[in-house]
């Protein structure tokens, strides 16, 4: 346990040095304690990189989506009430109609079976904090728990389809 702690301290010091400028600018994280703030920043940084890689082709870098083809994430009324579906979708994809901000979308979202729980946690943190205006760290434990549910979902769907 001692090693990760000292590593954490080192990262903390380094990021304090490099991000003091950011600190003064962004007061929307000010209510968080410093440990959470640092961790959130790490998740957001990695989350942004992964989002641009895996999601931005369709949902676009700014999260605006594309016309009535790909739903927006920025300002989307779907994200907060459907966290489990959103998180399962990152690995298993989504099919069928989907209502977002009063518009019915119907484009398949392809699955990404090789994406890890940590990567999903980082992307979800980024998406919820930056696009849904809900400052939160989606933890890897939360993702693990949700993944067990959607894995069951897919399993039971498969069993139902092929009895």
């Amino acid at each position: 346990m001692r090693k990760p702690l000292s590593l954490f301290l080192l990262i903390y010091l380094v990021s304090m040095l490099s991000s003091c400028d950011q600190d003064s600018k962004s007061d929307r994280f000010d209510h968080l304690d410093f440990r959470t703030k640092i961790r959130l920043r790490q998740y957001l940084g990695e989350g942004k990189r992964l989002y641009d890689l895996h999601c931005a082709n369709c949902h676009q870098v700014d999260g605006q989506g594309l016309a009535r083809l790909y739903p927006p994430l920025k300002g989307s009324d779907y994200l907060l009430p459907n966290k489990q579906k959103v998180i399962c979708g990152m690995r298993y994809g989504q099919k069928g109609e989907l209502m977002v901000n009063g518009i019915l979308f119907n484009q398949e979202m392809p699955p990404n079976p090789t994406i890890t729980d940590l990567e999903i946690a980082e992307i979800a943190t980024y998406v919820y904090t930056e696009f849904a205006d809900s400052i939160q760290i989606v933890t890897i434990h939360e993702v693990e728990a949700i993944m067990r549910l959607c894995a069951q979902d897919t399993l039971s769907n498969a069993t139902l389809k092929n009895p």
Partner: protein, 206 residues
């Protein structure tokens, strides 16, 4: 005098777009004399079907400049970015009767007229300006590789199953390729639109 000529020829070079592709020099007989004539690379004849089920051939592009690209509706990689960029081109030129857009699907097995219709409708575009076409797969791949000089083929190793370039091709009224632009990069698409204005001016001045 000499400087004047250089200046004129430089500014001409700047304002005229290059003609891309392989050129052939052929001798032709003109007024009883044998002369050298340059044959430029042109887009071959074609016949595809658009999102409204209308047959689209080279005739529709007579006296038009157009932008061509290759995509497929279920593409998870570069196509959505290309379509966002092409939408900018569409928005700028949709009311210009001299400009058309031609998007070829490289997955015609899935991208039927109905699928393309739904796609265009959801993108919010009209077939008056922007034709999404499907047709014979070999013919689409052939015109992609040999006329438009871009990569378009099936490849099971690629995400989505197809390998294709994200290029936008600018074609003039004489079916010649006048520019190739990366349709995934905003600045390159800005350049495309500048070049389209140049090309339109070129014809207006003739």
């Amino acid at each position: 005098m000499l400087i004047g000529i250089i200046l004129v020829s430089c500014s001409q070079n700047e304002s005229r777009l290059p003609i891309l592709g392989r050129k052939e020099i052929k001798s032709v007989t003109f007024d009883g004399k044998i002369k050298a004539d340059t044959i430029y690379h042109t887009i071959r004849d074609f016949s595809f079907t658009d999102q409204d089920g209308v047959t689209i051939s080279q005739d529709i592009f007579k006296d038009k400049i157009y932008v061509a690209d290759f995509f497929f509706t279920t593409c998870p990689t570069i196509c959505p970015i290309m379509k966002r960029q092409m939408l900018r081109v569409y928005e700028k030129y949709k009311d210009n009767p001299d400009v058309l857009i031609l998007s070829h699907t490289i997955d015609p097995d899935y991208d039927s007229v109905e699928v393309l219709h739904e796609f265009a409708d959801r993108l919010g575009v009209s077939s008056k300006t922007w034709h999404f076409v499907t047709g014979n797969k070999d013919s689409i791949y052939d015109i992609g590789q040999n006329s438009y000089m871009v990569t378009a083929r099936q490849d099971p190793d690629e995400p989505g199953g197809y390998l294709h370039s994200g290029a936008f091709l600018l074609i003039d009224k004489d079916r010649r390729v006048r520019g190739i632009y990366d349709g995934t990069i905003e600045e390159k698409v800005d350049l495309l639109m500048k070049d389209m204005d140049k090309l339109l001016k070129e014809y207006a001045g003739e």
